[in-house]
């Protein structure tokens, strides 16, 4: 308020003295630089058409765009039915801002094709997945730690996570040897990904309802190569046109039921 009072006083002076006083006050160099303002946020022409199939164009990838997720661990989730209510607050959940990025200058960049995309695999930012994207599929080609020379795994056969167009009834299985090092220890195992698009559901999230989301069930079987150490996990992903994965429920280890309720992780898209 002080500056306002002072300028009322300046106004009075300038009205008594000719307005030249203020006129001259502005006759100096411009103090406002050009403001490029960074341009508008990245947008897409993608508009959902709810035609019961999800094409590659309806899963756009924005590198460098932050997407927020609410993440809860070790919680109970009701994934039954076609009208999923994931809107309730979950005890202990936290909000994480994640973003996809180009391979760029990552420490493992030389190990993968330059066109690869890097996406966070965990909310703590310790592990990333390296993906290859085409009009036909999004494939997982490797896993790495953000800590240099700690974990770096190659899939000798790229794992198909999504095949386009997604339609209800679609299913496929990809198996691959996984080689490299895991937590600084040499690793030689195999993974099996069985993917099935089971239905189109309505999903209520904390701020939004998605009325047409593809329910994608993925069963991951990991054989570490060590005697008898095989882990099976169930994963439910809910994927919407133009948004991609809006929710993910990951089971506890060694879960065999597709409609599980005991979740190790619950990820929900958040505004």
């Amino acid at each position: 308020m002080g500056s306002t009072a002072m300028r009322f006083q300046a106004l009075a002076i300038s009205l008594v003295l000719p307005l030249v006083a203020q006129t001259l006050a502005a006759c100096s160099d411009n103090r406002t630089p050009f403001g490029p303002d960074g341009g508008p946020p990245p947008t897409s022409d993608c508009l959902p058409d709810l035609d019961d199939q999800l094409t590659r164009a309806e899963m756009p990838t924005f590198l460098g765009t932050v997407v927020s997720y609410l993440v809860a661990q070790n919680t109970t989730v009701d994934t039954s039915g076609s009208d999923l209510d994931l809107s309730a607050q979950v005890a202990g959940e936290r909000k994480y801002a994640l973003e996809a990025s180009a391979l760029g200058e990552q420490w493992f960049a030389a190990e993968f094709p330059a066109s690869s995309i890097v996406v966070p695999l965990d909310f703590e930012g310790q592990a990333v997945g390296i993906l290859q994207s085409s009009d036909e599929a999004i494939r997982l080609v490797g896993i790495a730690s953000t800590q240099e020379d700690y974990t770096l795994l190659h899939y000798q056969t790229p794992i198909d996570l999504y095949r386009f167009p997604l339609t209800v009834g679609q299913s496929f299985v990809t198996e691959s040897a996984v080689v490299g090092q895991f937590e600084a220890v040499p690793y030689n195992g195999s993974d099996r990904y069985a993917v099935e698009v089971t239905s189109i559901d309505s999903v209520a999230l904390p701020h939004l309802r998605f009325t047409h989301s593809f329910r994608v069930h993925t069963e991951v079987t990991s054989d570490s190569g060590a005697a008898g150490l095989v882990i099976k996990r169930q994963q439910l992903s809910l994927v919407s046109e133009c948004f991609g994965e809006i929710a993910r429920v990951v089971s506890q280890d060694d879960e065999s039921e597709a409609n599980f309720s005991d979740a190790a992780e619950l990820w929900r898209f958040s505004l």
Partner: protein, 530 residues
Amino acid sequence: MKTRALIAGLGLCALASHAHADRAGFTESIASGDMTFAGANEEGSVEITGYFRGRGETLYNFDLDRGLTPSGKALFPVPLGDPSAQALHGANMRLRTDLRLRGPGTGVSAVVRADLLDNLSLGSTPNLRDGTPGASAGQDSPLQALRIKRAYGEAVLPIGVLTIGRQGSQWGLGMVANGGDCEDCDGGDAADRIAFVTPLFDHLFALAYDISASGAQQSDRSSSRLIDVEPSDEVSSVTVAFMRYHTPMARERRARGGRTNIEYGAYLSHRSQDKDIPASYLGSAPSMFVPGDVVARGYSATASDLWFRLGGAGYRIELEAAYLTASIEQSSLLPGVEFYDPATSDQFGAALESDFDVASATLGLNAGFASGDPSPGFGAFPSAADGPAQPGDLDGLQADLPFDTRVDNFRFHSDYRVDQILFREIIGTVTDAIYLRPHVRFPIADAGGAKLIFQGAAIASWAVEAASTPSGERALGVEVDPSLRYESRDGLVASLEYALLLPLGAFDNPQAGLDARSAQLARLQLLFPF
């Protein structure tokens, strides 16, 4: 936050702009005095009126030397080539033609408003045949050399006037509905409307139906016209109005006779839209639409407006007040994505004008109020792509779904001018503000059928919501607007305008340690009416 803007931004723009959508405006046929039962006309006639307008201006330090907003924008464009420069220059023109084509007989006519080279900047369409502007041999015709702003038919019936087509929309002072008829106006409203106006009991009563937006369309088989493929996405408005009104000629005659003119009017307008097809206006519209393109909307807006004018010999007091309320049950623009809560708005605005003749001068006080929204930025012309405003921004969306679902800032029509710099150029219009505007007008010379007139005004303004200003202070500024106006007997009008804005604390930049500095404007406008 940007994701929210992508989902809901444009929908909120619709909410923010509803104030300028639901409006009545029957003065095209009423106020112009055309509602006269003319005598028989055997051959028909063509009446052409209009003007050529040329304007040149210098804008000095409109960025107020206060640095950038948190979003990295200047308050006004700054010169690109010289970071230290302060001035921007420009000139533009417009040829306005208003045609009234009267058919033979009584009272049937067609009306057209066509603006040629409408607000075209001089030198903006250089011939680039030889590669560079420096080698331009002249100017090319712009892509939109002709803009048809009004085209409607009018029939004077025994019980009233029936109009149909694209019609000008003006009401009261023009605070909400403004036809853009003033000498210095840039825009103007038009409505695709069928209206009936009838005189009863010394009043005029009007009923109008507007097709405000027809929604998604696709071509018929012969590609000769478009077919509306979904009735529920139509935006329509219904307006009822009444007014007691004197034509300018009658007003003048009554004043000379010592009579007091009491005029007033009111309208109630309701607009609605049930469903929506965003694919028809977002991005590149497809040639065919599918059922999945249809989203729920539930848009409802109501505007009410009161206007009052008291006048007589040597004085005029005129007041307009409007209340606008609206809700959007579903603000999402994306099919298959829904918000839980509706977006709503309640907006109020009022404007007062007064003139009193004192000796040879005319003095008066104007004032105005436009309700505000506590969100950052004024919300004058928010851009959906920018998302919600950040504290310190000049403009931006006033709602931030799903956390802030209200848009309560009232926006005056941008052609209702109260100053030259602050509201007209920097903010864009009066919104979220209170202003006082004392003004004076007196003749300097009057000889040989030509007059030279001095006009002056001072405008002091404050924000209603302190959080809306860049600094968080309410005091916006004081502006002084003197001008000289020359009017010749044969119609030429020349105006030489100057303006000085002294910004107050609202535009300081505490983060950068910069206080806002004064801005100036000089404009010469030449008007050649015919």
